[in-house]
Amino acid sequence: MPTGTERRNPGTAAAVAEQFEDIGQQRRADWAGMWVFLATEMLLFGGLFAGYAVYRVEYAAAFAAAATRLDLALGAINTGLLLTSGLAMAMVEPAMARGSRRAVVGLLVAAAALGIAFLGIKGVEYHHEISKSLAPIAGLEFRYDGPQPAHAQMFFNFYFAMTGLHALHMLAGIGAIGVMVALTLRWREPARLGRQLGLVALYWAFVDAVWLLLFPALYLLRG
C-alpha cells in the first residue's frame, strides 16, 4: 500500500520517512530538532555560566587571583586542539558531498583523535590541581595560600563542575564519532549516512563552541 510520501515521490519510499513530504522537509526537521536539543544544552551550560558570572562579579578579586593557578599554556593548547578538531569535523560534509569515503573517515578519525588529546591534557591539568590540593571535589582537601581561600574554593568548584561537564560531553561526542566511523566504513545508504554525519558535526561544533566560552571565562579573566 503506497504511503502518501510514496505517491508524491515515487521510488523514494525507502529514502524519505513516512511523515515527511520530501527529503528537504525531512532534512529541515532533522536540523531544527537537533537545534532544539542544542538549546537545552545551551541552557544547561548557561545555568553554570550564569552562576559563575554572579560569583565572578561578587568575588572579583578572589576569582581573578584563583584563576592564575590554572595552567594557561595547557588551556591554550587545548583550545587550539579543539579548534582544529572543529575544522576537521566541519570539512566532513563537503567530503561527503564529494562521495569520498576515505576523506570522511580520515576527517572523523582526526577529529576524534584531537578530542582524545584534549581530554588527555585535561587529565594532566586535573592531576596537577589535585596534587596541589586545589580540587575541592570528592571530599578532597582544599589548601589555598592566596587571598580569601573560601572564595577561591568557589572558583575551583565552578572550574571542575564546568570543565567536567564539558569533558563528559566530549566523551559522548567521541563515542558518536566512533559509531559514525564504523557506519562510514560500511557505506550503506550514503544519503542517510550524510544526514547522520551532518547532525553529529553539529553536536561536535557545539561542544567546541562551549569550550570557546569556557576558556576565557575560567582561564583568561586572571589578574
Partner: protein, 93 residues
Amino acid sequence: MRETTQCVAVYAVLIVLLLLSLALTGLALSPWRVAGHLAIAAIQVALVFAVFMRLRSAAIIVRVMALGATLWLMILFGLTLLDYAHRGIGYPA
C-alpha cells in the same frame, strides 16, 4: 572546494582571535580587558555557529530554533544578573 576553503579561512581567524585574547592577558585586569575577552569569545562562537554549524545557509526554521535558544539564554543571563545588580538597594543583603 569553496566550502572547504571557507572553513579553513574561518579556522585561521579563530586561531588569530585566540592569540589576540591570550595577548590581552598581558594587560592589567580591568573592565575593558574583561569586555575584550568576552567580545572575542562572542565573535568566535558566532563564527562557529555561522560557518562550522552552517547556520548561514540553513533553512529559516533551523535559524529560528538557534535564535530562540540564544534568546532564552539571554533571558537567563539578563534576569539573573539584573536581580543581583539590584541587591543591596533598600533590601538586606
